[in-house]
Amino acid sequence: MAGLTSSLGTRPGTPMKARFDIGRLLLEGRAFLALIVIVAVFSSLSPYYLTVANMMTMSSHVAIFGMLAIGMLLVVLNGGIDLSVGSTLGLSGMVAGFLMQGVTLSYFGVTAYPPVWVTAILCCLVGGLVGLVNGVLIARFKVPAFVATLGVMYMVRGLALLMTNGLTYNDLGGQTAHGNTGFDWLGFNRLAGVPIGVVVFAVIAVVTSVLLSRAAFGRWLYASGGNARAAELSGVPVRIVQVSVYVFSGVCAAIGGLILSSQLTSAGPTAGTSYELTAIAAVVVGGAALTGGRGNVRGTLLGAFVIGFLSDGLVIIGISAYWQTVFTGAVIVLAVLLNALQYHKRGRRPQALPGGPTSSLARAGQTLPTRPA
């Protein structure tokens, strides 16, 4: 749906014009429509659903895996996948918890209490480092993204568990005496009534959106995701782009971890388990193609909100957790089905091969013609 605007449908360099194109709006509107339907259905079932308070609560839930989804979007645009984000989110919270308890420097015989902003930056660095490992494995050593990030996912989760032997940091409040209070600012404070976490999420979304549609980097990303060989021969620094998206994704996950542990004022080593799958779901529901090159931030945001508002709504009206899982799955399947139909209609089906297209071609798609001329 939304994927088409920035990669296909829009006139080059004029993404704004797309807003006024009715046909495209309807196409793109699928996720939007779904969101409206969800909100309408749940507000009729529960008077509490459509209150400002609840909207804000739901949005701050969305902000957490939405952060992961935005990082994931960039990776997916590149034709990759990042399974390590859930673990990175957990590790980021643990690092924050660790730093907030004070770091004992035995050499100097003192305990240092880094201020909150230092803690936040260090967490982002840790996230970026995890992403760098992913990126280097994939771009330099040509490990398939799925496998590389799967391995890193386990390693990072293991590290998070090792930090406390599986225990949770319960108090992230900090102490005035140590000058490290204010960690709960991200999770509890509000800016004009909007939780800070949501504000941070919105800012990152806008920055990413501009990066994708208006910066050379965005174009490089779409090109290398669509056809890495052609991009490389056109002078796109494909490896740098590839490493950057994983670093970006890692940092996004770390910020997600900060927001989550700040909301809970505690950090557990198992936080964020299976969030990577939710993030992938949001990206896919938002119209991005897992084969790379198609998708945009607007779609991913809608995807994140559809999934978040749906599952929170199901909780509010008291549907069992098991049914929630079924519903979420159904939404994902439906969304992907519609994407497939849409891309098919656009005439980009693979070439008819004797005996029909084979599945082995799907991944090799970049090197295959998509239509006989």
Partner: protein, 514 residues
Amino acid sequence: MSAAVQIADVSDDVVLSARNVVKTYGSTQALRNVDFDVRRGKVTTLFGENGAGKSTLMKILSGVERPTSGELTLDGRPISFSSSTDARSYGVSIIHQELSLAPNLNVRDNIFMGREIRSAKGVDFAEEERQVRVLMKGLNQEIDPLTPVERLRLGQQQIVEIARALSINARILIMDEPTSALSAHEVELLFRVVHDLTARGVAIVYISHHLEEALHITNHAVVLRDGVVTARADVEDIDLEWIVRHMAGENFNLGTPPEQRDFGDVVLSIRDLIVAGPVRAGPPVVDRMSLDVRAGEIVCIYGLMGAGRTEMLECIAGRDVPESGSVLLCGQNVARLSIAARIEKGLALVPEDRQRDGLVQTMTVGRNLSLASITSFVRHLVLSSSREESLVDESISDVHIKTAGGWAPIGSLSGGNQQKVVIGKMLATHPKAILLDEPSRGIDVGAKAEVFRILAKRAEAGLAVVFTTSEVSECLSIAHRIIVMRRGRIAAEFGADATKEDIMAASGEAVVAA
């Protein structure tokens, strides 16, 4: 011999025919009321400019696409193919213009994909392999059935594609530009196979932008222009000039070398370049190649398939690492720079395989065109859309791309126009030296003349041009200097006054052609 008369007397010879076929894609009318006959034991060639609708008609005849209206008759009975598999079961087989092989599978599996030979113990790989060897022998190719297709060069992939179509034992064989990546030698062999087939009563439809070559093989000619059949005739009644006149309405020549003037300084200088072959221990594909190209000079490199032209150009552009040797651009060694840095310094490559190396299928025409020069319109970290748009529009009119606009998906362009996008993209980087690997692949005479005219014009302004070709007539168009490559080395060097015979003899194909 008027068209109306021909259609009226539907002789028994006609096996497959199309009547009043219309095909529209959105607002594009690719075909309008086309009548087309395919005759038993005869070669019917379809001529037409890029985007005339040739491939579209072939896709309809072979069941890949359904016509918007109109009907097909097979052996006099109306028929409608539900898919290409369905068409194949009626004996209609097609070689697509763009390759449709699975790169990860080997030659044998590609050829028998979807029609594996079964035995009691599963697929009979040994029998398949045997048949592939026989096919390859028929085409006089040394391609091992067990090589993965992705390891083959474009020309060899085209051979595999042809072999696959042949292996089907079709009654009607459609060939959409089967020879665009082949050199004269392979074409000769293919034509022998075609003669054998027609002698056995197979009906053949042939499409090629190599007009002379097509005239040589065909029995009937049909000319398509903007989706309408403008002329049809038997080959005895026509000549080259007739075809071009009906295709484009005017006559083209490929240009003459811009008059010998004093060239500028040496822009591109290659010294003792060695590129290793696929087998490390084997002979190198490019063997101590040295070449100087001056500003304003146009150099044509001619050679047979496997002569090492593509490997050399890709190595100069930075795709492959040379075994040894240096590449100097304006006196500066660029052999260690990345592709991006070389483009920045003014060295651009138009790759041979536009689908695999030239185009990003998920992007629009405009974004493909601006991709290589994108950093030049970044202002304050963001892209300037007005600059980009003007560059795109300029490129579209510069290289005469037939498209609805810069926003059109690249897949909606005809093959030749896609090729022009790749050329336009690299020209937009304002290179000092440009390397073009088979730039005329799949483009019509008019477009070819245009491309050569553009290159000649840019050369006059000081661009150093190196292009490769497999067609001798193209060597003798705009090039100041013709270099014949053979087994990775320079076999001969000619001035603009060379003759076809000289060039072919030096490349080693005279033996076969004689």
